[in-house]
Amino acid sequence: MKYTIAVLVENKPGVLARVASLFRRRGFNIESLTVGVTERDDVSRMTIVVNGDEKVLEQVIKQLNKLIEVIKVSDITKDSVERELCLVKVNAPPEKRGELVELTNIFRGRIVDVARDSFIIEVTGDEEKINAFIDLMRSYGIKEVARTGKVSMVRGAKK
């Protein structure tokens, strides 16, 4: 099963290497990892998707907590908002451009670059939505795909 973990770390050089080294050494499998700054300059946030069972998840969390520069680790697999951004460069001959624009609109994406025979299309969404979009693009001929990996945040209280 896939778990999503949010890790708040001190924003210092080498922190990413420490986290990556820990995953490698303990044999944990990273599905995706994103890092970015937060509302505080001195704190970064990593969103890590890890593959494994509950025992692996428990060890991942505990081992991460042992790193001095790790401030907080949370399992946010459940009840969170997930987003990923994806750029797809796809063949766009004149006769197909209309279809591509329509599909992009359905997915609430944007065409961000128009060249002689290709588009770059930007889509955001959860993993499934992006996978679905990429699948659709295959029949047009994908030239290149770049995905950011997932960022995730627990939903606010409902009451």
């Binding site: 770390v9 001190e10 050089p13 080498g14 290497a17 420490r18 080294s21 820990l22 050494r25 025992k55 428990e58 060890q59 505990k62 081992q63 907590n65 042992k66 790193l67 001095i68 520069e69 790790v70 401030i71 907080k72």
Partner: protein, 554 residues
């Protein structure tokens, strides 16, 4: 003030009395500053020796062991010693020189990325890129090394940083937002544990190295007597309770006694304190203590549930948790269980065939002549025989490389232990193969006149490997013969300026040991030419459960 001078002043404020190390180009400034300090420096003959000595010093004294090494090869030579300290949770701080900042990343002369290299084997490490941060880093390094679950910390200081001019404002405390060790166990969990103990008919305490680190000897003994429960230890926990105490069953695991392994396997409740259930302790985990519930007390939450299932986890310091736990315990006799354990103990004692010149016999005699000495060991058969036949009385008397299993650890560790406890006898129980791995430290011993004793169980083989080849590889002795019976350790010792002796017969053992005991103004090396076929038994074969332990007769 020059940063190097500020560093030395900071070490003085931390109470550092001795540093082990070797100078070199990138750490010259620091050594220059050390010249004016009251801190003693022991120049070892290899940086591995320095880290093991600092480790031995830390384990014998409870203080931090400090190491200096230069950049590049000096730094990489410390790696085995750091990994050893990490596996056994020993507090050492290693300062390495680094090439100047503008050269870092250029593959400069004697440049090695030591913070990158040691990332997985340190509790934390630092590359000091800003001279202004040096003192805060030093403060943090000592704090991290000694608090929570102790461990090694490395501080890499570029040469130009050590030359920089800084103000000496040594911080009085540290504030690390991501590091807050928990010392008090959760009261509800402690109550739950007490309930399990009161219900148990066959309780046993499994004490690990954490009991020694936390100085919880009194608390452990009081709890054991209050329940009452037998105590077994891990190899690292040897000494957590006096092995002369009637409740102590000695160490368990691959080469523990049959009775200790039976008792642990048949118990219905294991109270594990400061141990990590390593594979050498548990045998095949699937077959480990099938009827037992497990209470696991450890300061490191990541150890709980890592290797075995746990019923009551308690995160906290052994000393505090054991003391709180004892308050809920009422004495309850468990006669059937006690009789059963006593019966095993009588029926399956540790034993060996007394023909020829047996290494076990040498250890028994060492224990007789040096009952109060601090014993360090090398790794392999010598270590296991020492663990089996040297009965430990005092808490910090037995120092061994438990986790990493580093051959060459014992001798430099003995040097460190002796410097920590000059009033005590310090002995390294060695194998011929292990001793050769750091034999150059004889020069250190002689130069500083550190009178440790090295007792070599010389069988001319890498004995433990030979034993496995005999038992599991159809006696195909691939590469294990090292021929140490063909040269003279006695003459090597004398060549260095130490006292050397050779003992060829069991009848000479006692005299040689007594003679060695009399010599307190020089290091002594005694070469015991023991039978090479002797094996460490009993033994839990690899992949088997603890109850499947075999002896010579099996």
């Amino acid at each position: 003030m020059r940063a190097a001078d500020a560093l030395i002043k900071a070490l003085e404020q931390e109470g550092v009395e001795v540093v082990f190390g070797i100078p070199g180009g990138a750490i010259l400034e620091v050594y220059d500053a050390l010249y004016d300090s009251s801190i003693q420096h022991i120049t070892t003959r290899h940086e591995q020796g320095a880290t093991h000595a600092a480790d031995g010093y830390a384990r014998a004294s409870g203080k931090v062991g400090v190491v200096f090494a230069t950049s590049g090869p000096g730094a990489t030579n410390t790696v085995t010693g750091i990994a050893n300290a990490y596996m056994d949770s020993s507090p050492i701080v290693v300062f390495t020189g680094q090439v100047s900042r503008h050269l870092i990343g250029n593959d400069a002369f004697q440049e090695a990325d030591i913070t990158g290299i040691t990332m997985p084997i340190t509790k934390h490490n630092y590359l000091v890129t800003d001279p202004k941060k040096l003192l805060r880093i030093v403060k943090e390094a000592f704090y991290i090394a000694t608090t929570g679950r102790p461990g090694p910390v490395l501080v890499d200081i570029p040469r130009d940083v050590s030359m920089a001019d800084i103000e000496f404002d040594y911080p009085s405390k540290v504030d690390l937002i991501g590091y807050k060790p928990k010392y008090d166990g959760h009261p509800m969990q402690i109550k739950k544990a007490a309930e399990l103990i009161m219900k148990s008919e066959r309780p046993i305490i499994l004490a690990g190295g954490g009991v020694k680190i936390s100085n919880a000897f009194k608390e452990l003994l009081e709890l054991a007597e209050a329940i009452p429960a037998f105590v077994v230890t891990t190899l690292m926990g040897k000494g957590a309770i006096s092995e002369y105490h009637p409740l102590c069953l000695g160490f368990v695991g691959m080469h523990g006694s049959k009775y200790a392994n039976y008792a642990l396997s048949e118990s219905d409740l294991i109270i594990a304190v400061g141990c990590r259930f390593s594979d050498r302790t548990t045998g095949n985990v699937a077959k480990f203590a099938p009827d037992a519930k497990i209470i696991h007390i450890d300061i490191d939450p990541a150890e709980i549930g890592k290797n075995v299932r746990v019923d009551v986890p308690i995160v906290g310091d052994a000393k505090k948790v054991l003391a709180s736990l004892k308050k809920y315990i009422e004495y309850k006799q468990r006669k059937e269980w006690e009789d059963k354990v006593r019966e095993w103990r009588e029926k399956f004692p540790l034993r060996y065939k007394k023909d020829g010149f047996k290494p076990q016999f040498v250890i028994e005699k060492i224990c007789e002549v040096f009952p109060d000495a601090i014993v360090t060991t090398e790794v392999g058969q010598n270590q296991m025989w020492a663990a089996q036949y040297f009965k430990v009385k005092h808490p910090k008397q037995f120092i061994t490389s438990g986790g990493l299993g580093t051959m060459g650890f014992g001798f430099p560790a003995a040097i460190g232990a002796k410097i920590a406890c000059m009033d005590k006898e310090v002995i390294d129980i060695a194998g011929d193969g292990s001793f050769l791995m750091n034999i150059q430290e004889l020069a250190t011993c002689v130069y500083y006149n550190i009178p440790v004793k090295v007792f070599i169980l010389n069988n001319g083989y890498l004995g433990m490997v030979r034993q496995w080849q005999e038992l599991f590889y159809r006696e195909r002795y691939s590469a294990t013969c090292i021929g140490c019976e063909k040269f003279s350790f006695e003459k090597i010792a004398e060549g260095f300026g130490a006292v050397g002796m050779t003992v060829e017969k069991p009848s000479e053992v006692l005299d040689a040991l007594k003679q060695a005991k009399e010599i307190n103004d020089a290091p002594v090396v005694v070469d015991f030419r023991v039978d090479y076929q002797a094996k460490v038994l009993p033994m839990v074969p690899p992949g088997k459960g603890l109850k499947e332990i075999i002896d010579e007769e099996d």
